[in-house]
């Protein structure tokens, strides 16, 4: 398993790093897609199949495409050749590096369990049942949230009425 993990991890990292570093926005999204696919594979490796497929469906199939659409709609005016990074690139990167350092140090300093647990068996049936029984409230709230987000996004993106004088 370790090998698969390393390969998938490398893929994910490369993809996401590219997503954050490429100059052209479309290329960034495409790289992101790769990264997300790698993440989905990792989920599968970890045994959360449902989550993995949901990741493909939602992120890759909707969010990334949506981002592509947005980029295409907003980039018509501006030239693709812009400087990639903003003026204070170093500050941002250093902050991110510092955060990684702190997190890594926190991870490293915790005692690690050497026991390898068996793979849990989970079925969609169980997930569904849990959703309906234990997590029914979050489920309903999520439904409301999605509805609100839907309406909000439509309103936001709606063209403004031209007022006749």
């Amino acid at each position: 398993m370790n090998v698969f993990f390393l390969i998938l991890a490398a893929l994910t990292i490369v993809g996401t790093a590219a997503a954050m570093a490429l100059r052209s926005a479309i290329h960034c999204i495409l790289a992101l897609t790769i990264g997300l696919v790698g993440l989905a594979a990792l989920y599968l490796l970890l045994g959360a199949q449902f989550v993995g497929f949901t990741q493909i469906l939602v992120y890759v199939g909707a969010v990334a495409i949506l981002a592509v659409f947005a980029i295409m709609m907003t980039q018509g005016a501006s030239a693709p050749t812009q400087p990639i990074l903003s003026s204070s690139w170093l500050t941002g990167v250093s902050v991110a590096v510092a955060i990684f350092a702190v997190l890594a140090w926190a991870i490293h300093s915790t005692a690690s369990t050497q026991t390898s647990l068996p793979q849990p068996e989970v079925s969609v049936n169980q997930i569904g049942a849990a959703l309906m029984h234990q997590f029914v409230l979050p489920l309903e709230i999520m439904g409301l949230l999605l509805t609100a987000a839907l309406i909000g996004a439509v309103i936001l993106a709606m063209p403004e009425k031209k007022e006749t004088l």
Partner: protein, 697 residues
Amino acid sequence: MAASTDWIVQNLWLIPALPLLAGGAISLAKQRHRALAASLAIASMAISFLLSLLAFIHVLSLGHAETVKQTVNINWFQFGNEWVKLGWLLDPLTAVMLLMVTFVGLLIFIYSVGYMAEDENFTRFFCFLALFAGAMLGVVIANSLLLLFMFWEIMGLTSYLLIGFWYAKPIAAAAAKKAFIVTRIGDLGFFLGMAWLYSQTGTLLFYDNGAGCIEHSALTALVTHTTIFGLTVSTGIALLIFCGAAGKSGQVPLHVWLPDAMEGPTPVSALIHAATMVAAGVFLIARIYPLMSAHIPSLLTPTIALQVVTWVGAITALFGSCVAVAQFDIKRILAYSTVSQLGYMMIGLGVGGVSVGMFHLITHAFFKALLFLGAGSVIHGCSGEQDIRHMGGLKKYMPVTLLAYSAGMLALCGVPFFAGFWSKDEVLHSAFAWSVSSIPFYMAAVAALLTAFYMTRQMFYVFFGDTHRPAHHFAPVDDKFSEESHGHHAPHESPRVMTTPLLILATFAVFLGFMGAPFWPWFQSFLDGEQPVLSFAPLAAALPLMVVSTGLVLLGLGLGWKLYAGKIKLASQPDPLQQLQPRIFSILSHAFYVDRMYAMTIIRLNTVFAHLSNWFDRWIFNGVVQCVSYLVLGLAWLDNFVDTFVVNGGFDEGCAAVSHGGRTLSLLQSGRIQSYLRTIGLALIVLAILMFWGVKP
């Protein structure tokens, strides 16, 4: 000296109050209410005259058994533990004076209606006249020296107002000022004497049931103390009060205001400067006569005070008559004559006592008022001309005036059987019999001679001879304030409203003297409180002197006749006396240069002092004020500086610092999300490190 409950004594205060009220009422009336003003004044004076008559009858009726002095005293205000009292008093002296003042005053008021008829300030004239009359009557009835002094000052004020009646004329304004200032100088002495008397006796009431300041107990106390120069206190006080009398009555050297006071209208001259105000000084001396004559029992000669009075009177009498000889203004001759006659009155008081001086005062009031009114009639008839060289031959134009004027002139000269004869002779008689010296007698005799001389001169210039006024010469053309402006035509007799008082006064001038003649001295007895005795013995004793004085008078008349009768033809011709003795004449006509002497000494001194005061005020007081102001300015500048730089500046700096700080801090608010995020990230790192470091063992 009991307080009588008789009506007239209780209401004696009405006599001065009515004219004062009338004056007050007239002052509120408008200038065009002439008839109202004149009626109020004359009516008040007439009522006062009737009340004076009542008072006189009352005093007469009380008989001469005891001394009749009836007083009413009222508490005025409290001064420490004592009450300052005021009051009025009715005694023979008061009664005769009241009668004379109201009667002569009434006649002059009536005369003024005609005299001032064409003046536009008619109403104001009567207002002042009424006020003056009230003040004079107040002086007469006052029982307290303080009250007398108050009315005395009011008289001075009204005299100022009346002399300067035509105030737009600078010479009149100057004359009024001079009168006021000179009399004020005398009043200073009066006030000092009054204060001294109060400090010594504790009261200023004359008669207060034995406690008055000139009653026996007070006088004994005053006589026993002596002061500087070895004078008794009573003499000292008396001399100081005499200063006031000398100022008011024009004794040398305070006489200088009287001739200049002729700038006022003629009725004013008649009332104030002949009959009443100048007589007030004499009246004052008569009133405080007990004080003046108070002496230690062992003293045989008259007191120093009375001697001083006599000498001053004698000098004044001679001085006045000398100067009158060389004057050319009809009123100035009469003014100097008044000065001279006032000297006579003082001699009379000094050598003979109250009755002698007062007798001459009463008769003089009548004939001098008559002479002044007659002169006014002459001036009125000559359309304002006052120079006697421009008159003449008026006897055919103004016969009534001539008749009245002659009566007055003869009375003044002392021609036998006229009023002045009896009174002047009393004075001469007493002077001759004076124990100290007979020089005053000789001075008075020479003055009598000169009086006759200058009056004759005046008569010839004015009434006799040809009319030597050039036909085209009139009163100064642009002088609308002189006595007349009703056209330039030939001299004419005055209207009846003016000549009637003249004739009434003339009657008195002729017959009044008989009330004091030696064979029936009613006046003297009345004042002394005794019964008059009709006897010819005193007449016989006085006869030699009467012959001598008559001789002097006739000599004077003769000299005047010789020099002036028929000799004056032209106005430009010099005076015969001037031709004879030009140098003496010029000294006399300048009144012995007294005025110039005053100008060179006192006035110059005053000017120096005024300059000094001015310098002091300008540099010292002003300097101090300027220094203070500079100091304040400096403080203000400093304050401004502090306020601008320290307070404002500091505050501004503070605010700028805050603003700067705020501006600096606002740089954090860049509006860019990413920088906010970075800050959040940093904060998170710091927080995490802190947390871990705290937890890690």
